[in-house]
Symmetry: C2
Subunit: 123 residues, 2 copies
DNA sequence: CCTAGTGTTATATTTTACTATTACACTATA
DNA sequence: TATAGTGTAATAGTAAAATATAACACTAGG
């Protein structure tokens, strides 16, 4: 797994798993790979994976059953809430950043539209 | 200055100064505060500030004159290029993140529009 | 020429994330 | 009941960022 060296690995693992849950790659109630397997999958240490999982458990998205495994919550409202929260966080961040670069609301919207239209193309 | 503990301080300082240059708070050719003063301003160490400055110098945005100070480049094209680059980086990041949450191009655009319309308001 | 202010660099120390390794607690099942 | 697989936690070590502090190199101005 690719890691951005500017951001803690445990944080990136957490985000990665959240994405899998939100996109349905991991279904509600589904068992996650074991912590040891996850560590191999993402090429990180068990403790680092555990740290990521601990935060997701504290957030109620993952349920931990000792001796059995970790499971995605069955409460789908928690998952939809998580998605809303992640999307909003991303929007707030990019808005704040672009606004700090003196782009007006209109320019921000236009720049996003422009980016989507031109993405993947040579300039 | 507020620091996000998930991102290296030197990196945040660099970004902060870039924003000041792009918004014109620091004009082309203008002298920056001394590294020692900057360290006080942003509540960080001189070496940390210097690391941020070194990268900006390497990028050609800041010119260093030993014994005199650090100065914003007079080449305004470098500044506009920097702005373009920062904006594009932000757009690419948020697009990738939202796309990874299974939002379509249309949904991404709509969510940005929606965010701008509703920002600062209760839900 | 001297001094104050500037950028630059170096050393030692602290802090934190991460790793490697081991051990412990629990569950299911053969 | 023994064993393999699971989560959990502790210990010790490594690496990188950040700090405190000091020194060095240069410039401008008195």
């Amino acid at each position: 797994m690719y890691f951005d060296d500017k951001i803690p690995i445990y944080y990136q693992i957490k985000n990665h798993i959240y994405h899998e849950i939100i996109t349905g790659a991991l279904q509600p109630g589904e068992k996650l790979p074991s912590v040891r397997q996850l560590a191999v999958d993402v090429t990180a240490n068990v403790n680092t994976v555990q740290r990521a999982l601990s935060e997701m458990i504290a957030a109620g998205i993952i349920e931990s059953k000792r001796g059995r495994g970790n499971f995605v919550t069955m409460e789908t409202t928690k998952i939809t809430d998580l998605k809303t929260q992640l999307v909003t966080t991303q929007l707030a961040h990019v808005y704040q950043q672009l606004h700090a670069l003196n782009l007006s609301d209109e320019e921000i919207l236009a720049s996003v539209q422009h980016y989507i239209e031109r993405k993947g193309q040579a300039k």
